[in-house]
Symmetry: C2
Subunit: 308 residues, 2 copies
């Protein structure tokens, strides 16, 4: 399947032999294509929004999708969360990258649109764990923009390591509703929820990094300054430790979950009734929705700041 | 709850303060008692067989049960598997220990009773993984003897580390029928199956070792010579690695499984119909049962050996 170049330096345990950069690119893109078709992620006529962050995973995703599915419409959506010295750099990198890739690009700047920034949460009770409200805001806005712009799918760059980390935590804590949601395609449970797809779900963080390097994809090199103590970073270290002892751990655990266990939790995915948020009108399990609550919280803190 | 002795040297993360040996013994026995009552393991009138191996876990179990439930009848059952330089030593230690403890002791020697030894499996296709047929034989005989001798419960020394190791593997491989069986009390699905109880299921390997040391319980100090490469030993190392990063891992994982997840797998526990083994008449999912198949295998290999 690949060249016999003597300079093949890339070793992927389950690929035959060592790959040269150009063969690795082929290997990676074939795998993305196979994942998309295996889980029926993209159908004819789909308009696909790709959530881009400026990181290696989502930029690799956009690059591989665009090359593999030349007839599908892809558009990047970036949420600029106003994190000083970070968000703007990511936006600049993305603007340049997506222009060269010739795909449309939607930027939503929370400072301009909502008058807040994720940094404002430092003065709320979320102080030490800003990833939580940041995630809520990002997820909400990505879906809302994709919905309002008429996209039929929302693709994210979640890789196997991301999913295994969430899965592992969900099993440790018996978080059944989370267990019911971890899958390659999350169907829509309301017309205003866009179907979410994860075409990189079977590729590891390392494989995405290698693809970005081999394809010379520009990506941010600094980590988010607010997430240094993030739970997910510690969680990934544990996952990597396990994989050192059990090399097949990540793939086997994810596969067993999908093929053998997730069906048991499936009924739990739909037991929480969906209501309409009385503030924004978007579907949610609570009203006001988590996004509107976080927004309200930050606005109160900001106003108090101004009054002082 | 415990003395203020300045020499408290035993630290248990979830016990208050440091414990001296005598307080540790109290702590351990209270915990065994609480576990037995929480999961309703022993009722009035029960005759309890305790599977003893000569190791620290099962001897600690027997010792703690005997002290904590003075009015219950306990009997040790030991399966001598004929492992050279190991099985007989374990039997000697146990004979002495159980005599001092004043409990009845049943020894079943597979060489005398069946004319085989677990070592014979070295010449079968089980060669490199003798723990598998050994486990089959032990489980079968312990249940059969307990049933035939009229015991109502069969207690085993499985500790939290044992259970978490099995649980972890079952989740990685999506082994649903195993997931349905990992619990403190395994009810009987057939009149010839004795109810199995695991009173040490919430105590770690380290806690059992400490109890054996503090109570001066004699136990074998050499490991089984056939299990050096056992999967479970490697598995436990992984579990300990995880626990180094997530100190509450073992307890949380087991508890979440029991309280939140196991109910989903429950229906799977009973989907395999039980048939009667046409060779031995014991209940099993196959006929001949796994025990009779292993026995037949070894006898064939032994006969062939004699013919040569």
């Amino acid at each position: 399947m690949h060249c016999k170049a003597a300079d093949g330096e890339i070793f992927i345990p389950y690929a035959r032999g060592r790959l040269c950069p150009s063969c690795y690119i082929n290997f990676f893109e074939r795998k993305v294509k196979r994942t998309v078709s295996k889980y029926r992620m993209i159908q004819e006529g789909d308009r696909v929004a790709v959530a881009v962050s400026g990181g290696k995973d989502s930029s690799s995703l956009m690059h591989a999708l665009k090359k593999t599915f030349p007839n599908v419409e892809f558009t990047g959506i970036y949420i600029n969360l106003g994190i000083g010295g970070y968000s703007d750099e990511c936006e600049t990198i993305l603007t340049d990258f997506l222009k060269k890739l010739e795909v449309d690009f939607i930027v939503y700047d929370v400072r301009k649109e909502l008058g807040i920034s994720v940094e404002d949460f430092k003065r709320t009770y979320f102080k030490g764990r800003l990833c939580s409200p940041c995630g809520t805001i990002k997820r909400y806005l990505l879906n809302k923009i994709a919905y309002e712009e008429g996209f039929t799918k929302l693709a994210t760059g979640h890789n196997l390591d991301d999913l295994v980390e969430v899965l592992f935590n969900a099993y440790i804590h018996g978080d059944v509703s989370q267990l019911a949601r971890i899958k390659p395609v999350l169907p829509s449970s309301h017309e205003k929820f866009v179907v979410k797809i994860k075409p990189l779900c079977e590729l590891t963080e390392r494989e995405n990094l290698l693809y970005a390097e081999c394809s010379k994809i520009p990506y941010r090199t600094i980590a988010c300054p607010l997430s240094a103590r993030a739970r997910s970073r510690r969680g990934k270290k544990v996952i990597d430790k396990i994989a050192e002892s059990i090399p097949y751990f990540k793939h086997a655990f994810f596969k067993s979950h999908l093929k053998k266990l997730s069906r048991f939790f499936e009924p739990e995915a739909s037991i929480h009734p969906i209501v309409e948020c009385k503030v924004c009108g978007m579907p949610s399990s609570t009203s006001p929705c988590a996004f509107c609550k976080r927004l309200q919280l930050v606005k109160e803190v900001n106003n108090r700041g101004r009054d002082d």
